[in-house]
């Protein structure tokens, strides 16, 4: 008998510009307005509960959107309160890892919070499984593959991060406590593929088959 798909219980924090390829892609703009400088603290956003879609459920795309951007990420699920933790102790606060598909309406500016692009109903695929740290191993060795209708479109390599998992968790916990059930995404990479209504998005971690396959199909909004 299989267990029900994992669903979080806390707040889900996403992370922009935490993969080196994203940083490199945006660095020519960083000194220009409106940014006027590279970010110093982790760049975070929140995926509210209305966005949560269990693995295998359809995700509705609004009629006005022609395409959505796929954001494959590892989510670190917190198991013990993390408040001003050190890098060395940070990963001790993790209950496990889960696959996430952080969908967005495509947008080019990161000046204002991305609520109208990222917080649409259903726009976060989650699961299927929470993999405990002793089974998952070192998060810096994780890799993700993204397929659209079966075709490989992106790989995300967590060996190439601006802040590796422990550093990210430590830096975020400097100003806000992460509580059990909260989730912190490691980052979605640059070159995020676009998908449209009718297509199936599959995300998996090669080498970690026990994390499962996160699969969601995009469907059109009912008229």
């Amino acid at each position: 008998m299989s267990s029900p798909p994992f669903m979080p219980t806390g707040t889900i924090y996403g992370t922009l510009l935490n993969t080196l390829d994203e940083w490199v892609a945006l660095s020519p703009q960083m000194a220009q307005p409106p940014y006027k400088g590279a970010p110093k603290a982790p760049v975070l956003y929140i995926k509210t509960a209305n966005t949560w879609s269990p693995c295998d459920s359809p995700i509705t795309v609004p009629a006005k959107a022609t395409e959505v951007e796929v954001g494959a990420s590892i989510g670190m699920v917190i198991g013990a309160p993390a408040q001003r933790t050190t890098v060395r102790d940070a990963l001790d606060h993790i209950a496990g890892y889960v696959l996430m598909n952080d969908l967005s309406l495509p947008h080019a500016s990161f000046f204002r919070p991305p609520v109208k692009y990222k917080n649409l109903d259903g726009f976060l695929g989650i699961g299927p499984r929470l993999l405990p740290p002793h089974e998952a191993g070192n998060p810096n060795h994780f890799r993700l593959e993204v397929r659209i209708d079966g075709e490989l479109r992106q790989t995300v390599d967590y060996a190439r991060l601006v802040r590796p998992a422990a550093q990210l968790l430590a830096d975020v916990s400097e100003f806000m406590t992460l509580h059990p059930g909260d989730v912190l995404l490691l980052g979605c990479g640059a070159q995020r593929p676009l998908a449209h209504t009718g297509q199936r998005i599959d995300i998996n971690a090669p080498g970690l088959p026990t994390l499962g396959l996160l699969s969601n199909t995009l469907v059109a909004e009912a008229a």
Partner: protein
Amino acid sequence: MKHACVAYDRAIHQATEHDGQLRLGDGRLVAFDAVRWLPPLAPVPRPRTILALGLNYADHAKELAFKAPEEPLVFIKGESSLIGHRDHTVRPAGVEFMHYECELAVVIGQTARKVQRANAYDVIAGYTVANDYAIRDYLENWYRPNLRVKNRDTGTPLGPWLVDAADVPNPMNLALQTTVNGRLTQSGHTRDMIFDVPCLIEYFSSFMTLKPGDLILTGTPDGVVDCQPGDVVVTEIEGIGALINTIAAAP
């Protein structure tokens, strides 16, 4: 009716205001200063969505040298930044400018999806007062206002009361004010919002479903000043309540 959520006698209680006292769910009457005040919200089955507006009063936008936005400038807060009435908010060591923001907070009462402005008041359970502190030293131009400014532990006092919508005939006609150590520093009026409450509910519910217990913090008017450890900050909205908070030094 005015609702509160309090810790008393080793338990958490939903309570109501009764002749200057709190009536707990089990009928006991206790004094306001005998309890620890928590955000006046009933538990919800999933994390609540907390939407907060920036630059939603024309005078405040001018104060911060921004032109008024053409659509709502919204950011999202995590539930763990909320604290209750009479609690303490930490000022980080070494910062130059930490300010309060007195805001009318709308508490959603019914599932709201694609709600028209004309029907927006039907989905509101009630109103409370939020103090949406900001540490301006940490502002960065990436998803601004960024979470290090706006989502800090203890950074969002809320309360003391959730006042039923039925007892607030017109939330767009309320005076707001803030005092610091008894001195009036901020004074405004909800009629000066750029995007009023029905407009905000129509806008958000056009792309995201709001659920009972979700919050909309509607922005703050002109008049924010720096606050130091020991300062007592009272954010007050006519007919809703006076939310008391004290600034604490970083541990």
